[in-house]
Symmetry: C2
Subunit: 414 residues, 2 copies
């Protein structure tokens, strides 16, 4: 057995999260070829299925919907699910209860948050007219921020994250930043950038899609104004499960949503013609919550019982360090280059490797049971979910990657 395989075994033996693995559905034969269990490194796209979810969803469908029907809105806790599940997510992002609601897609929540931020900024200074957005971000954030800017009479200014402190100023109405870049896996310095935006008197919106459930965020500690995040990556909520919106407690009574649906009304069943926003985080709700997906997410969040996000972060860094070490040992120099920063303080929970034939390489990796994903034009993206991945998985993934790369020298991709 190679030295790295021995190391992997030792690391797995010392892993205090190892028991959590049994709370997920993993290693089905369909993941890999010829009886070898697969290695799922795409939890940063769609988290694996928590074992508690199927029975919960079956109960929601057959009993809550099929038998109790509308009574479940009150008796079954459907109506309060958005804020109840928000409170369950809160400790994972360092937020006290009462500041998060779950519902709608990430894109829709980005719209609420950016428009809400601009309106908050203008309460202090109506002349603020510029929305800054991370130029390297996941595109939907840029598209939605452009719409939010257009609809509030602002100019959209794309900047690289390192230029934010120099770019913010008295014209800044809102800044939208991605905590971890979807492509490179780079982690931004949230405390420093938040402080820089605040020094210019503007609110900041953080997109936590690639950090929630993977590393500590500290929303309350760092005074973040608004944040959004998705729940189907490191929170394992299921395909397209609802996103969330955080509005800091002291801003809630001034949060002015561009989507004031009846679920955000102070008296939703009053059916009153005048809109009067609910107090608290509920103000971020819009329409009828998507119960099947929302309650699947609630069941998925039970895997966090007895686990702190700090433990997850420690293991995440150990996993990505070990993956880089295995890649360095197995893959010939220069065949791939690492896009993800080496410094722990700048790394999320994924490793992005660049190689010219990445699309072809990923197809063949997947055929051999190592599932990551390809991002245009030349990125192999591997996500590491500490709750269900072990060090032996990581070693195997690097080994199979080296084998696939050895078969396909750069330039030979069909």
């Amino acid at each position: 057995m190679s030295e790295l395989r021995i190391r992997a075994k030792e690391l797995d033996g010392a892993d205090e999260l190892v028991a959590k693995r049994a709370e997920f559905v993993l290693d089905s034969a369909s993941d890999g070829a010829s009886g070898t269990a697969g290695v799922y490194l795409d939890g940063n796209s769609l988290g694996a299925l928590p074992a508690a979810v199927p029975a919960r969803v079956a109960d929601v469908v057959a009993r809550q919907w099929g038998e109790l029907r509308i009574r479940s809105w009150t008796e079954g806790g459907w109506w309060t699910a958005p804020e109840r599940i928000g409170d369950r997510i809160a400790p994972l992002v360092g937020a006290a209860a009462g500041q998060i609601v779950v519902g709608d897609s990430t894109s829709v929540n980005v719209f609420k948050a950016v428009v809400g931020a601009v309106r908050l900024a203008r309460l202090g200074d109506p002349a603020r007219d510029e929305v800054l957005v991370d130029a390297t971000t996941f595109p939907t954030d840029g598209y939605i921020a452009a719409s939010a800017a257009r609809m509030t009479g602002c100019t959209l200014r794309p900047v690289t994250p390192e230029d934010v402190p120099g770019a913010v100023g008295e014209r800044t109405a809102a800044v939208l930043l991605n905590h971890v870049d979807y492509r490179s896996g780079r982690l931004l310095d949230l405390p420093r950038l938040t402080a820089a935006v605040h020094a210019a008197g503007a609110p900041v919106v953080w997109d936590l899609c690639h950090s929630v459930g993977a590393l500590p965020v500290g929303l309350d500690e760092h005074g973040v104004d608004l944040a959004v995040g998705c729940t189907y990556k490191y929170l394992n909520g299921g395909p397209g499960s609802p996103a969330f919106l955080y509005v800091r407690a002291d801003l809630q009574d001034r949060f002015d949503s561009p989507l004031p649906g009846w679920n955000s009304h102070a008296e939703p069943f009053g059916m009153r013609p005048e809109y009067e926003p609910a107090p608290g985080a509920l103000r971020g709700r819009v329409g009828t919550p998507d119960i099947l997906s929302m309650l699947a997410l609630e069941a998925a969040l039970e895997v966090w019982d007895g686990v702190s996000v700090e433990q997850v972060r420690t293991k995440s860094l150990a996993l990505t360090d070990f993956f880089l070490e295995c890649v360095a040992a197995y893959v010939p120099d220069g065949r791939v280059t690492c896009l993800t920063p080496r410094a722990h303080g700048e790394r999320g929970s994924q490793i992005a490797l660049r190689c010219p034939d990445a699309g072809d390489v990923m197809r063949r990796l997947i055929a051999r049971g190592v599932v990551g994903d390809f991002r245009h034009p030349d990125v192999l993206r591997f996500g590491f979910t500490p709750l269900y991945l072990g060090f032996a998985d990581v070693e195997r993934a690097a080994r199979v990657l080296a084998e696939v790369l050895a078969e396909a020298p750069a330039g030979d991709a069909g």
Copy 2:
């Protein structure tokens, strides 16, 4: 057996939709007291569970998510679900394929549609600055229309539907109307009102929440511009199942969404910084679709195989006529008054009865297995879903209503 019970039996015997009842989960013991099957008259709030749904959802969770994971986005048809399911709804609202996408809540779709309508109107005349909204409508439509008006620099003007033809004019940028009123069950004259709005050169948005699946709509035939609707009422998609957006084919290349998320991009996986909208109905998509709820809806729509919405309408009118006849026979004159128009051309698929102690009456009706709902301040609301209700149900509901009303003379409500 009373004359009405005999009539009910005859009508059920002649019902050509009677076999559809077996495709739903009904009559659980939890619906009624002491062994009497319940009568579910709240399908206009949450449709009953179609029998095909539980197994489909179990497969989506355990196999598509749990085993195939991200592969299901392509191999399992997840990615194309919004437009595929839209095409399944299309014939129910008289629309050719390629004009409907499913996703987001009704409120979010109202926002897309009203903003989109204003922008379409302004391509013809940039000075149009007034949004007309049905003053009697479900409140969320008014709240969201107010936000859409505010964010496009328009004034919101609430009008009663009968005043629309006189109120539209050269300032009109968009008109939002509810096809069937959620409270009274009144059906508006869609062809006439659409023509009146068009005569003023403006686009109209129809909210079909209480008509889709209950009666023919004729979107294409009547030249409707945009429409939205929900899927958890007469389409039985499940609690909070995704809503839909219709954009008429010839308007799609000019439809300018206020929520241009990455799912509406011409090349969503290009991850390009510039937004370029997809052609066709896809332009109405926003973020990652909510797969669990969406595929539950797809299974629920299978009950429409072999059924036309015209058949459903014929039975719906027969059911509500028969209910009114039974109420007239069983309930003493003056104890309740009917809020729903008697004329078939003005009636949706519900009956709203007014009585001063409606809240208390509904609580006791539900305790006896007849499930409708209460709408503030004095409305008993009964929805009639022809696919799973029979005439004997209707007779029993009226009989139990009369018994409950006899126990509680008006003014005695506790």
